[in-house]
Symmetry: C2
Subunit: 306 residues, 2 copies
């Protein structure tokens, strides 16, 4: 049972202080999802031992270069390495247009199918079920249409109690129904309540990604009670006007969203190049929400061990 | 007097063995020229202490991703850092189309002028004079239109001999004419030959870049007698058929071009990801042309000290 996030880049537009542009990998037992794909992401996947051929789904938040410019190179490399497996790409319509232009000029085509899922004209406006996840997209408040994403594990079957199953002589053929929550009715008509035979599964884990965005009240509902929220904090409060003008958030604002939404923890990221030392951003966020943490390149979080 | 080349990346399409895609910087006293701009080039400029704001001219050989995908990010960063100075971009028409699409989707425009110089439909077909260079583009033989470049220092003035100028009492106002090669005619009508007053300047240095291309006989003439030739050698002779099919060269073919063209030295590069150890490629090239050398990321060559 896996629900694991790896940070590949958490800088903002300018590559500086050794930080790279946005990209993350979310892995379950059944799927690998990439979230944003800034320039150089394929090289960082290699560095962290992640196989690009394993990616099933790529979510792109918006069309600023530090969130998508690694995509044509990553897909071209996948192609050269012989990928045949379908790739789902969730993002603004410009992504498809850009990739098609790249192929046309390069005189190539991808030898694997790409299934495009377009986010809305104002961002968000998608909801889909994959093998192991529910993916919801919601609009953020940035200079161009931008989508926040929430990833939630699909509900798991109830956990059967082997000794109880034996005690009540439950036949194999009805065990699937019991895992789905049904009671067991014996041949003599007696009902054995489901709770006697099974226990509740682990609660589905949930992760939300909000980058880039100004402080936006509606995000609170969208990310409510998720186990971890990655929320951009490009600036500190001392640069609040700049944050407002560029439609970015401050560390304090990100923490306020996290607090109001009662999330498990806040992952801070998308730091402006002006901040070499990130401790002041962390202190600012923690003054509002104690469970604030700095994202760092290469960091992995196993949601089932949080 | 500077004519210095720095290698920023000399791998081929797949980032592997720690190698990065194509990019180089050529610097004179007056100008900085970038040659190709694969993904991640802006990060490598930073690593080697090169300022992207100093770039005057960018030459793009062709529209395969490993030669141009770093360009939109590099220009976007330049823009964010406040660039106002004009940028000249020499390359296929697709470069302009791609950059304009990037700006449109990102809702931005570059705050500095870009002067596009388009290479021909079959590659090459350009010749221009810059402050310190003559830049010539010629067609290569690749899967899509690809341009090879030759960069030649502009001829320098002759070197004046201060003691001879004094001995013949040459007035200041005619010294410019003497540096241009004219004789000095004294008021009494006597002619002092130019060679008495000045000596020949250093020969203009010349550098040629050929990537990507199959073996192409016409390249010999284009790069004749240049001080250094960067010629791709994606494969070894043992992969000659693959080289032929993908329109790339072998190390032996690159060396044959260098030998026929009587260049000063061959810089090998664009190595296939299949070669971790490059020594066999070097040996193969040296069996044909002794002055073959492996390009390495971060390597600089001062042409006036070769």
């Amino acid at each position: 049972m896996r629900f694991e996030l790896t940070i590949l880049g958490c800088g903002s537009a300018l590559p500086a202080n050794g930080r790279n542009p946005s990209s993350q990998i979310l892995r379950t037992d059944k799927e690998m999802v990439m979230i944003d794909c800034g320039e150089g992401t394929q090289t960082r996947m290699r560095r962290y031992g992640l196989k690009m051929q394993s990616i099933d789904i790529i979510c792109i938040s918006h069309m600023h270069g530090d969130h998508y410019l690694g995509l044509p190179g990553l897909l071209s490399s996948s192609n050269l390495l012989g990928r045949k497996k379908e790739m789902t790409i969730i993002g603004p319509p410009g992504i498809q247009e850009m990739l098609e232009m790249h192929c046309r000029h390069a005189g190539m085509r991808f030898a694997f199918p790409i299934h495009y899922v377009q986010t809305g004209a104002k961002g968000g406006d998608i909801e889909m079920q994959t093998k192991s996840l529910r993916i919801q997209g919601f609009p953020l408040d940035h200079k161009i249409a931008t989508t926040g994403f929430r990833f939630t594990e699909k509900p798991r079957p109830r956990r059967l109690d082997p000794s109880a199953l034996e005690r009540y002589e439950v036949p194999l053929k009805v065990r699937g129904a019991i895992a789905r929550g049904e009671d067991y009715i014996r041949d003599d008509g007696k009902r054995i309540p489901n709770e006697t035979l099974s226990s509740a599964p682990r609660a589905p884990r949930s992760y939300a990604y909000c980058s880039d965005t100004a402080y936006l009240e509606s995000v609170v509902e969208q990310v409510h009670a998720c186990d971890a929220l990655y929320h951009e904090c490009t600036f500190m409060e001392s640069e609040k006007e700049r944050a407002e003008r560029t439609r970015h958030s401050t560390a304090k604002q990100a923490a306020a969203i996290a607090k109001e939404a009662k999330v498990g923890r806040l992952l801070m990221g998308h730091y402006s190049a002006r901040y070499d030392d990130l401790r002041p951003l962390l202190d600012e966020a923690r003054s509002v929400f104690a469970e604030s943490h700095l994202s760092e390149e290469g960091m992995s979080i196993d949601f089932h061990r949080m």
